[in-house]
Symmetry: C2
Subunit: 615 residues, 2 copies
Amino acid sequence: MFQSFAQPPIGKKLLGDRFARFAKALKDDDLDGYIIPHADAHQSEYLPPDQERLSYLTGFTGSAGWAIVMGDQGHLFVDGRYTEQAAQQIDPDNFSTVDVMATAPAKWLKTNLKPGQRIGYHAFYMTVSQVRKFEQACNSAGAELVSCPVDPVDQIWQEDGRPLPAKGRIVLQDDAFAGESAADKLLRLSQRLKEENVDSALLTLTDSIAWTFNIRGNDVAHNPVALAFALLKKHGKPLLWVDGEKLSNSVRDSLSNIVDIEEISNFEASLTRIASAGPTILIDADSCADAVRIALETGGATLIERQDPVIGMKATKNSVELEGMRRAHLRDGAAMVKFLCWLDSQAAGSLTEIDAARQLEDIRRETALADNSQLQEISFDTISAAGENAALPHYRVMEHHNAVIADKSLYLVDSGGQYQDGTTDITRTIAIGSVDAERKQRFTQVLRGHIAIATARFPSGTSGAQLDTLARLPLWLAGCDFAHGTGHGVGVYLNVHEGPARISKAGHVPLEAGMILSNEPGYYKFGHFGIRLENLVIVEEPHPIEGGDAPMMGFETITFCPFDLRAVDVDGLSVQELTWLNDYHHDVFEKLVHTDLLTQEETAWLSRATAPVIL
Amino acid sequence: MFQSFAQPPIGKKLLGDRFARFAKALKDDDLDGYIIPHADAHQSEYLPPDQERLSYLTGFTGSAGWAIVMGDQGHLFVDGRYTEQAAQQIDPDNFSTVDVMATAPAKWLKTNLKPGQRIGYHAFYMTVSQVRKFEQACNSAGAELVSCPVDPVDQIWQEDGRPLPAKGRIVLQDDAFAGESAADKLLRLSQRLKEENVDSALLTLTDSIAWTFNIRGNDVAHNPVALAFALLKKHGKPLLWVDGEKLSNSVRDSLSNIVDIEEISNFEASLTRIASAGPTILIDADSCADAVRIALETGGATLIERQDPVIGMKATKNSVELEGMRRAHLRDGAAMVKFLCWLDSQAAGSLTEIDAARQLEDIRRETALADNSQLQEISFDTISAAGENAALPHYRVMEHHNAVIADKSLYLVDSGGQYQDGTTDITRTIAIGSVDAERKQRFTQVLRGHIAIATARFPSGTSGAQLDTLARLPLWLAGCDFAHGTGHGVGVYLNVHEGPARISKAGHVPLEAGMILSNEPGYYKFGHFGIRLENLVIVEEPHPIEGGDAPMMGFETITFCPFDLRAVDVDGLSVQELTWLNDYHHDVFEKLVHTDLLTQEETAWLSRATAPVIL
């Protein structure tokens, strides 16, 4: 199993005297306070174990948060979904929690610092933009933000059995999956650097590096990336800083043709050396560690702040990547159908959330093998959420709170697989037994929002922000809404969350053909139930509409798995919406049957689940 | 008639030697070039005659444009709608045209200036933000932007019979219409200045000043404002700079209770005096003349750049203003119905665009009198556009191009009235004889977009940018679009175009209860026909929806006038859309009949025009 349901071995008792030792370290360093982000030097979404500083010091194991320790008083900043968990995990003698949505850490510092105070941070774990914000907050309070050469958390953790750095093996992503050789990508990137008028660009995002060099790693959960840095050059071979022990001889030989490999432990020293020649270097202030800026600027480089040039190129997939994603989604759709058929065959109330999540991961693994592929990882920890747990959009089941999937309820399952040809992300909400009118009504409103995105056509230059409302309108008209974006970018056997485009009111990047996004409106009634309906879509090239003036872009849905018709209020759908649903279900059946991955029983189930609904 | 259809007395022959004299003046002033905007010191939408510098120098009479004269070569920057007109009006020996959408003036300067060149501008006719942009462009070319104490256009125009400055009478807008006394508004504004932590705020926008002091003027066409400046203060009486000859004794006496009046010719000198005390003054860089910034900064004031504080307050109308707007719209709707009834009674092909525009203005005037009101002005020059002329969204009919409203065509009429209780803006598109399937299809798509906005519900904090797509989706799905925003803010017996909110992809200001916006999707097939369907709407307070989680905002449509059902493809409407249309038409009939402004014949016509459509 990729997913673990065990509570992490953290708890007040295990915390011991680490906070006291930390507070002493601050004092020894003549610091009044210290900022601890939930981050590594690459701003990874999932942290390797040796980078879980926040969890080590505070006990809090959530996926997002900040701590600020002032003297012997700690403050943990978490958002609403983690308030309860944080309260259970921290030691109240040392930490109190702050609602990060109401008071961001920088705002807190601005209000709480006293003139003359010195606040430390480690420049590798915060971005250039973040440090600027903190610097402004400190300055406006008359305090000083101090970059510390050694992180005091790391310092005390070393005495305490800190995990070893991740050593995940790096493998090559074959051109047959990548669709473009690393050499060709590097050629395009050099051209781009010429256009940007810079000598080189420093990459710190691990998915940018994985895409550029056609490599995949195994250093963090779920995202198949390697911890590395890279320097792209306008002229000459790029540089890749990576732990040499992650490279087999053959991978090293192959990479050496296109990139000079340096030991990652020499990264800072290399930057100083590179900067001394006075080059112009592009960095992305929103993701680049402040330590990189310091080393390059101090060394003599001229920095140009722009978006990481790989982000845009990676987002628009080539035809081989798109084919791979389509193939991965058929396989994954077949796995989902097997799972849903199995789920239907179990008596209501006989399964727990963990039972279902285990079964789904097993089915994905077996289905991949039957399809001559392999489940490399799951795209993220499966959200297997029964009844009221589904009202928490980011719910994660654990052994100590594992609910039964009860009769007369909605069960929400949001999951995905990492295959070598693609990354999937799908959410279905299933009626367990008969469900009431309210649940059906909301399910139908969410489905209408989903269909509105799936069927939208729009001119070139349209952003996700312009489309987001279409997914919400059916809910808005009913006095409801959902508190997350409608869609995020998805990588190809890379991160399941990637930029730059998204479908959300803040998603102002124009959609471009070949981008892959999720289409996942939802509805959450706290304490009662939750609904989310998610497919992935490919942004299509503008193509003509009969009788129209101009070609329009649109979306190709690539996820194939039935929506649960037992939860649909058919009268709430328009003729056009019902037609889309019937056509989609027709395609689901045809495509999945042709995968030859379904048993006779599963095919019969699918035939029933996708039978056309007659108005 | 408020509207004139005569071609302005401008033409190549009339231009004489003014360009040569202007070029010589530049040389005398040691300038290599000069920038001439289409603007006055208040960034007025409509310029008083003595401020029409661009037209005086170039011959071009369009409503937007820039000129840059370099030595003896002039460049006129206009957008696509004015390309042809500009080519006819300018003297090609002196000017060439530049597409302003492809090359903005600042961009042009950056490319075309040579190091060491000196480019002049007049600091009263450009905003702080504009000057910054031009300065940057000049600097990056190694040239210098020079503020000139005397505008060389003004200088030669004086010798040439320049019109006298506008002397429109200023009247008080009674509290019975304004809904809040000027004293109370000033109290709220002082409070606001305290919150903004500034000593005072300098107002240069004439509608901000008209709203603040409850005055209306008559200096420019269509916008009932007076040319003036004002200084609001945190403590003490504000200052109003205005030409004293515009004030009757009683208006002066009344104003003197709340504001100190100064002669507008002393404005610059007053600013220097005020600045010498070192106050902190708010200015709005996007509308404030750069000359104001220079005088205040040079004089010793500290400037804080924020949005003019009146803009937001003025936009959210009070209940008296809303009642006035509703009343004005019933009167105006009755006038529109009289016009449409009359239009229907005329044989197809018997009327010209000017005939119709004249008739409409006359009917508005008579209807207002019958309603014990008065048509103070028209909100803008009526767009009376037959057939293919309607494909130009900003078409303005003139005697020398006055088309016949022909059989089997669509006639578009966009117009509005200025009444003391409100400002109206309405567009209807009328089927003259029978119209073909294509026109009906597009009309219906535009109508569906209009209905989508009219019926939208949305949570607090939603911006116009989030709603704009709803007006476009029916067209997008058919491969079509329209190239203007969906809606603009509207003042109450003030400017028909006002900020800060709008319904457009760039309208990121959250909508607030009491704002009034237009809802005007359209469709334009160049060379063939044009459609626009416009009502005004009030943004409603969030109010509950049965069974919903949260109250939602929405729109109250306040324009009452039938849509031409003869141009609707009923099968293209959903049941919900048709229900809205029937309900709206029911309300139109009920409300307009109760105005007692319609004759028996008009009532009968309205009854037919609003008869419910049965599916």
